[in-house]
């Protein structure tokens, strides 16, 4: 295998390939950091440019976009509470409070280092453990997807900041929204209220931008002008990559990167689930879980190492099985196909140079991603120095443009507006948007896979408990619900005893 890497490395003697990857990474950072433009769009946009390139050069450029965008998504998430891409939704939970507390530089510094760690770990996993993980990913049938989704839904408990009931309500609204559109099991159109544009479901990106970006803009413009003055002065001297601070949370970044890579490798699960799962896990193993949601460094590190860990994971089933792990990987695969390269195990045998070259290109992309962000961090933070009267309209225009660009129809812009207003009222009444997003991601996944699993196994419920992976997720879900309840009950009893004494 190392011989393969050494041989593939000779492809990189040409400086052009580095230029291509660097260009891709810069574009990715831009796409990731602008709300409404995603990794998937960036890759799709550059795809035609790669036709004329050598396969590894072209793929390297696209991988640069991928890494850059996933990581760049954390910049607006931390600074403005606006996730730049779906996978940075969880990042807003702690990075934004941290920035609000006057430490935007620190939040970004943590994001950058955590992204780099996640990316590097995923490169290693992608390079050396692909066959193993691909094999594990194939074990996921509809049953496992359903129970993974179920476990994912229990995370609602850890992301609903104030009230659990409100979190559950928000989560269920999200689930209902996810069910709009054609049911893939029967082909029946559901919950569209007769609106033809909703046949394909509610556009997730547009809804996401609305829930976070637009609702934030409405909130910001309606809140008092008094705090605007203080916003103008932002300290930039604390904006630098936070190595020591990140590295000492080794439990958090190692487990989160691993969760990211593994979840990324399960086709269809995706980066947003990965970062939520990692966030939840970090909160569980943390000594200070009560600090989460208030600007805790552990929360920031968990999400960012997980979503960049996901990038390498998503490439595994694409490269070794020919099954793309997410939408971005699907376009990357299209890029390979156009060059006449059929992804799959044969690629590593017949076209070893290209397959291993792509892994090296992915490593290079991660290095560029980190370097550019380290240089750019002071610049990013200065965004907060722009007076809100200029910044907010600009973001608003970008959001609507982005939403329109997703489908090229005004429907998405309407979805954005409606969800923006919806998100504003959610916030105002103490609901948070994160559970809605979780419900939207997981609702359809649980529902359709549950029914598909039941069709496959003749409606036999016991199948959820007899398959090991599925049973694990069921038990984890039960634990996730039972443990906090038990703790609450124990605390209350202690308090009662204390009161009695």
């Amino acid at each position: 295998m190392f011989a393969h890497f050494a041989e593939a490395a000779t492809l990189f003697a040409n400086g052009y390939i580095f230029l291509a990857i660097a260009a891709g990474t810069v574009l990715g950072l831009i796409f990731g950091s602008l709300p409404g433009l995603t990794a998937t769009m960036g890759i799709a946009l550059l795809l035609p440019l790669t036709f004329g390139m050598e396969p590894v050069t072209g793929m390297g450029m696209l991988l640069g976009v991928y890494c850059g965008a996933i990581s760049g998504g954390s910049i607006p998430a931390a600074l403005l509470n606006i996730p730049g891409t779906p996978s940075s939704v969880a990042t807003t939970l702690d990075a934004f409070p941290m920035a609000r507390n006057g430490e935007p530089g620190r939040a970004l510094g943590l994001c950058i280092v955590a992204s780099m760690i996640g990316g590097m770990i995923s490169v290693l996993i992608f390079a050396f453990m692909s066959p193993l993980i691909a094999e594990a990913a194939l074990r996921f049938s509809a049953i496992e997807y359903a129970t993974l989704g179920l476990f994912g839904l229990t995370i609602i408990a850890s992301v609903s900041d104030k009230s659990l009931i409100k979190g559950i309500v928000a989560g269920l609204i999200g689930v209902l929204i996810s069910l709009i559109g054609i049911d893939s099991l029967t082909g029946v159109v559901r919950l569209t209220a007769g609106i033809p544009a909703l046949v394909g479901g509610v556009d997730f990106m547009a809804a996401l931008i609305g829930l976070f970006a637009l609702s934030q803009i409405i909130t910001d413009t309606t809140t008092s002008r008094a705090d605007q003055a203080s916003e103008g002065r932002v300290r930039v001297n604390n904006a630098y990559p936070r190595f020591r601070e990140t590295f000492r949370r080794w439990k958090i970044w190692s487990s989160s990167s691993l969760i990211g890579s593994l979840v990324g490798a399960i086709p269809g699960a995706g980066g947003s689930i990965a970062s939520f799962l990692a966030y939840d896990q970090a909160k569980r193993i943390s000594r200070t879980p009560e600090q989460f949601g208030k600007g805790h460094d552990e929360g920031v590190i968990a999400c960012e190492s997980a979503n960049n860990g996901m990038t390498g994971g998503a490439l595994i089933p694409m490269m070794t099985l020919g099954i793309p792990g997410d939408a971005s990987a699907a376009i990357l695969m299209g890029g390979l196909l156009i060059h006449g390269l059929q992804p799959g195990p044969m690629l590593f045998d017949e076209q070893a140079n290209i397959a291993y070259g792509i892994i090296i290109a992915f490593l290079v992309a991660n290095v560029f991603m980190f370097s550019f962000q380290s240089v750019g961090i002071k610049l990013f933070v200065r965004v907060l120095q722009i007076p809100r009267t200029y910044l907010l309209p600009f973001i608003m225009v970008m959001c609507i443009l982005g939403a329109y660009g997703i489908t090229g129809s005004l429907t998405s812009a309407w979805v954005l507006l409606i969800f923006g207003i919806f998100g504003y009222f959610l916030n105002r009444h103490g609901f948070s948007a994160a559970p809605v997003v979780l419900g939207m991601i997981l609702g359809y996944m649980v529902e359709s896979n549950f029914r598909r699993g039941m069709t496959m196994h003749d409606g036999d419920w016991s199948i959820f408990f007899t398959r090991p992976i599925s049973l694990t997720f069921v038990l984890l879900s039960v634990l996730a619900i039972a443990l906090p309840l038990y703790r609450q009950w124990r605390n209350r009893r202690k308090q009662d005893e204390y009161a009695n004494q």
Binding site: T38, T40, M41, A44, L45, L47, P48, F51, P86, A137, L138, R139, F140, S141, A142, G181, I182, S184, L185, T186, G187, V188, V189, P196, A197, V199, G200, D203, F204, P267, G268, G270, S272, P317, L321, G322, I323, P324, A327, A330, I331, M333, G334, L337, I338, G340, Q342, P343, G344, P345, Y404, G405, I406, T407, S409, M440, S448, R452, T455, M456
Partner: protein, 315 residues
């Protein structure tokens, strides 16, 4: 949550647009609506054809992905567009299947077919570790134990679903039909051994077949597959059924003869381009150019009839 594709390429391509128009058509940028996400078979085909078509038509073609509803959203957009030849799409059997299921507001006659570009065969494959080594063995099993063999396809009401039902009716078996969320979802399920058999287009099966985890049993096309010459066609096995998927160019119904002629010439040039042929072959399909006219319309009508009839029964 996936499939969020940009039309931003529109903006860039528009900026770079440079074309000299010779005739009355085309005189401006043409939008090609792809009703699926980037990276899928139709999208790859569009991007493969794009340079050759641009050269032949002398105008920029903008590929615009409008995914959603298994193709319905994009096709609806085109069916409702002005029939001026500046909005086209790449249809396939899904147009008929969605009409039959009653989910679409268009009918197949809302489109003018400007030419067929390629055809690809539906192929039935089974997981390699299963007990079936031939189509006959699979059919025997499905007939002896109705409803036990799980048979996957891409999505409910899609073209592979309808084709699977047509096949089951024709041959006379009953399988446990399992719809998936897209073809790669179905391939993953079969490769992991969670379903027994599946029907997809050859290109979608490619990764599974080459990995050796799936074996092709029968092709529904007229001729044997080039890459798998040992796999029989259904008609060789004594069933008079030939179903292929196709991809061509269509515009909203009512375009001028001039538009049709321009596209016929452009498609003929594009499909005889060696690069295009190679790229289509790489996808596991073959170039099958058919000029617009009565033959093409008759073929569309025939496919539409059988797909719509079966899909209506599935509702």
């Amino acid at each position: 949550m996936t499939h969020n594709i940009t039309k931003l390429s529109v903006l860039l391509a528009g900026v770079m647009a440079a074309g000299i128009a010779a005739a009355d058509y085309p005189t401006k940028t043409i939008t090609m609506v792809i009703p699926y996400g980037a990276g899928g078979g139709t999208d790859v085909l569009a991007r493969t054809l794009q340079p050759a078509l641009e050269e032949a038509l002398g105008q920029t073609i903008v590929v615009s992905n409008v995914p959603g509803g298994g193709g319905i959203l994009g096709f609806t957009q085109v069916a409702n567009a002005k029939p001026d030849g500046y909005t086209v799409t790449i249809p396939n059997n899904v147009i008929f299947a969605t009409e039959g299921m009653g989910n679409a507001t268009y009918t197949y006659s809302d489109f003018d077919y400007l030419g067929n570009v390629m055809s690809e065969d539906y192929v039935v494959a089974v997981r390699a570790d299963g007990p079936w080594d031939s189509w006959e063995a699979l059919v025997d099993d499905m007939q002896a134990n109705p409803g036990t063999v799980s048979f996957g396809f891409s999505g409910a009401g899609g073209s592979t679903h309808v084709a699977s039902e047509i096949l089951a009716d024709m041959v006379g078996y009953r399988a446990r039909q399992i719809p998936h969320d897209g073809s790669s979802d179905a391939v993953a399920a079969a490769m992991g051994g969670h379903i027994d058999a599946l029907m997809l287009n050859l290109a979608d099966l490619a990764s599974g077949l080459r990995s050796g985890r799936l074996i092709p049993l029968v092709s529904l096309g007229d001729d044997r597959l080039e890459d798998y010459p040992d796999v029989p066609t259904l008609s060789e096995l004594g069933h008079e059924l030939s179903l292929t998927n196709w991809r061509g160019i269509a515009a909203p119904a009512g375009v001028d003869a001039e538009v049709k002629a321009a596209w016929a010439a452009a498609l003929e040039a594009a499909t005889s381009d060696a690069k295009v042929q190679e790229a289509i072959a790489n996808q596991g399909a073959e170039v099958d150019y058919m000029a617009p006219g009565e033959t093409l319309d008759a073929r569309m009508a025939e496919l539409a009839e059988s797909f719509i009839r079966t899909a209506q029964r599935l509702k």
